[in-house]
């Protein structure tokens, strides 16, 4: 799993039926020093996250299929949590309640 920041909401009418009824959010993965890293990932949102929130993403097709309860769903990424705090080497580097990063 990785952490990332939600950057956009995607609206799509014509899409694979496995995606019906769940929001699609574009997430920019970030490294553990909270800098953007790599390409943006389109994720199915299982949690109810919003733009600018720090989230936990999971990029494994079989796990997404399990969460959707649809075998053979053509999905490979999902948001599985909203990050409250991140501690690294005993230092709090992220706190959602203050959004102070150090």
């Amino acid at each position: 799993m990785q952490i990332g920041r939600v950057v956009k909401k995607i609206v799509s009418t014509v899409k694979n039926s496995a995606f019906d009824s769940r929001p699609l959010l574009l997430v920019q993965p970030i490294s553990m020093d909270l800098r953007p890293t790599g390409s943006e990932v389109l994720c199915i949102d299982f949690i109810g996250s919003d733009i600018d929130e720090l989230v936990m993403i999971m990029k494994e097709g079989s796990s997404v299929q399990q969460m959707l309860n649809i075998q053979d769903a053509a999905a490979d990424a999902a948001i599985i949590g909203i990050v409250d705090t991140v501690h690294l080497h005993d230092v709090k580097i992220f706190d959602k309640s203050t959004e102070v990063t150090s």
Binding site: V14, G61, D72, D76
Partner: protein, 88 residues
């Protein structure tokens, strides 16, 4: 999954039998602002997308899944949705 824009299409007569009947599109990946990134590539189409449309794709092993019946084409990128709008 990731965002892309359709640039054109490719037609092959001789191809793997699992690819038969499938539309193959030339796609460029785009970032959240719609700017192309990286080199264009070929993707199979599962949804009926056409030139100029902004779409989202599935890559990797799951690209073989969104087809009816037992059709499992040897694809590494498949268009699975057409994007109406991107909200910020």
């Amino acid at each position: 999954m990731y965002l892309g824009r359709i640039l054109g299409r490719v037609v092959c007569t001789r191809k793997d039998h699992m690819m038969e009947g499938l539309k193959m599109l030339i796609v460029t990946a785009i970032d959240s602002d719609g700017n192309p990134k990286g080199a264009p590539f070929i993707a199979t189409d599962s949804i009926g997308a056409g030139a100029g449309e902004t779409v989202f794709l599935c890559g990797g092993g799951e690209a073989a899944l969104p087809f009816p019946g037992n059709q499992r084409p040897p694809s590494d990128a498949t268009v699975i949705g057409i994007i109406d709008s991107i909200e910020r």
